[in-house]
């Protein structure tokens, strides 16, 4: 019998603590770079306040933002049969122990159970593979960004130019509400629900896009949006996005779905790979 150093429940508590108290290195570096390049005085002050807060949160072990969001889990590899219950217990414990803000409510009565659970929670996506390990990744998703989500069922004739315009307009129309500068996740193609799912998963990515066409689109959008003047918190300046991440899937010949899901400056994530005798944590996730 193999003895893991910790239970899945404990791993989930650790993941939520890591994600909430420490910014992923790639997001932190992008913020530092944005602060170094910023030419607007007011924007520089906003970025300074953000970086200062990130340091304090890590030092004190406190959630960097009061909106500790809704945790969205991705379970990849070998899927243990009790994973749903274990993740739910981990969320309940993390809410009390870290603590996290109890955010989940009934959508109609708005009643809050106080433990970040309830009907349909926690949200878990399963990606079964033939690997011998289980990888649990979590995204901590606040409402400020989630409320800015857009799905556009474009006409195929709108093409790449139409896709880029839809993405840029979605970010600029959102203004200061999703706490810019953040990570813009884009889904292109698929069906309506798949497109939204790709856009959200794209905000988890920390690595270069392997598709050269998508990479070119990402770079073009990055330059265009950062030249808009929206700036940190929508108060004007250079830094409006830290990264643009695009994913695509084939779609119906009569469709061109495009989805935009934004991550705030605190695009929070953590991942744990559980092997037979070890649990390895990281703040990079590939889902």
């Amino acid at each position: 019998m193999i003895k893991l150093p910790e239970t899945v429940e404990q791993t989930v508590v650790n993941l939520l603590r890591l994600a909430n108290t420490k910014l992923p290195p790639d997001v932190g570096w992008a913020l530092e770079a944005a602060a170094a390049w910023e030419t607007d005085g007011r924007a520089s002050a906003q970025l300074g306040a953000i970086l200062d807060n990130v340091k304090k949160a890590e030092l004190l072990g406190r959630p960097m933002c009061q909106d500790t969001g809704i945790p969205i889990f991705y379970v990849k590899g070998k899927i243990p049969p009790s994973i749903r219950q274990d993740i739910a217990s981990g969320v309940r414990r993390a809410t009390a122990e870290i603590p996290l803000r109890p955010n989940t409510v009934d959508p109609l009565t708005r009643k809050n159970p106080g433990d970040n659970l309830g009907e349909g929670m926690p949200i878990i996506h399963f990606i079964p593979t033939g690997d011998g390990y289980t990888e649990i990744s979590v995204m901590v998703k606040g409402a400020g960004t989630e409320n800015m989500t857009r799905l556009g069922m474009l006409n195929p004739s709108d093409g790449v130019a139409g896709i880029k315009k839809f993405v840029a307009d979605s970010v600029l129309d959102a203004g200061g509400r999703p706490c810019p500068p953040g990570v813009v996740g884009v889904g292109v193609g698929g069906t309506a629900e798949e497109c939204l799912s790709m856009a959200k998963a794209a905000t988890m990515s920390s690595s270069e896009n392997p598709d050269p066409v998508l990479k070119e689109m990402e770079e073009d959008l990055f330059v265009r949006i950062n030249g808009s003047g929206l700036g940190p918190m929508g108060l004007g300046g250079d830094a409006t996005v830290l990264a643009v991440r695009i994913r695509k899937a084939f779609c119906h010949t009569a469709s061109l779905p495009v989805a935009v899901n934004i991550g705030c400056w605190a695009t929070r994530r953590a991942s744990a790979r559980i092997t037979e005798d070890n649990v390895e944590y990281s703040q990079e996730a590939d889902v």
């Binding site: 306040a49 009061q66 203004g175 003047g229 918190m233 929508g234 400056w265």
Partner: protein
Amino acid sequence: MRFVNAPLSREDVSSLALGSVVSLSGPVITGRDEAHVRALEYLREGKPVPGCLYNSVLFHCGPIMVKGNGTWKAIAAGPTTSARMDRLEPEMIRRFGIRAIIGKGGMSREVCDAMKECGCVYLAATGGAAVSLAEALPRVSGVEWEDLGMAEAVWKFEADRLGPLIVAIDSKGESLYDRVSGSLVRT
């Protein structure tokens, strides 16, 4: 940086220039979606509303609070998206004489107009800077409507140099967000 002390008078808020940076001390209350709905509902029904709402500095914030030795403490308290309160805020400003709103992302033209009419300003706090802002709310003087839950209750704080806050809508109803969005480069 200008240091101001709440409660604020109409004269205090009219002296705050658009775009200037402010540090605020004194009583600050939180209130977001549910508190706005209930406050206006109670007014209509003639039920008593907590006195702290009147002439207040209203922070759009749902903090993370912990209780130790019988005392509440904020451990994370950043601003929430103010635009969600757009529909209810003009009446809140008119009925309660709110002098300053602290939030993020700005508010609608209707809210700006109510601010101009009644003498109120919008102070933008850095979104997500929750640990730094909580440190500037060292004392909790009470809580109203706790049944609404941690995020939606009305928490009463004594702020100690809360900031940096940017005057993003002034008492003349001029909005920095409108200026920025009006001059955005869309290529």
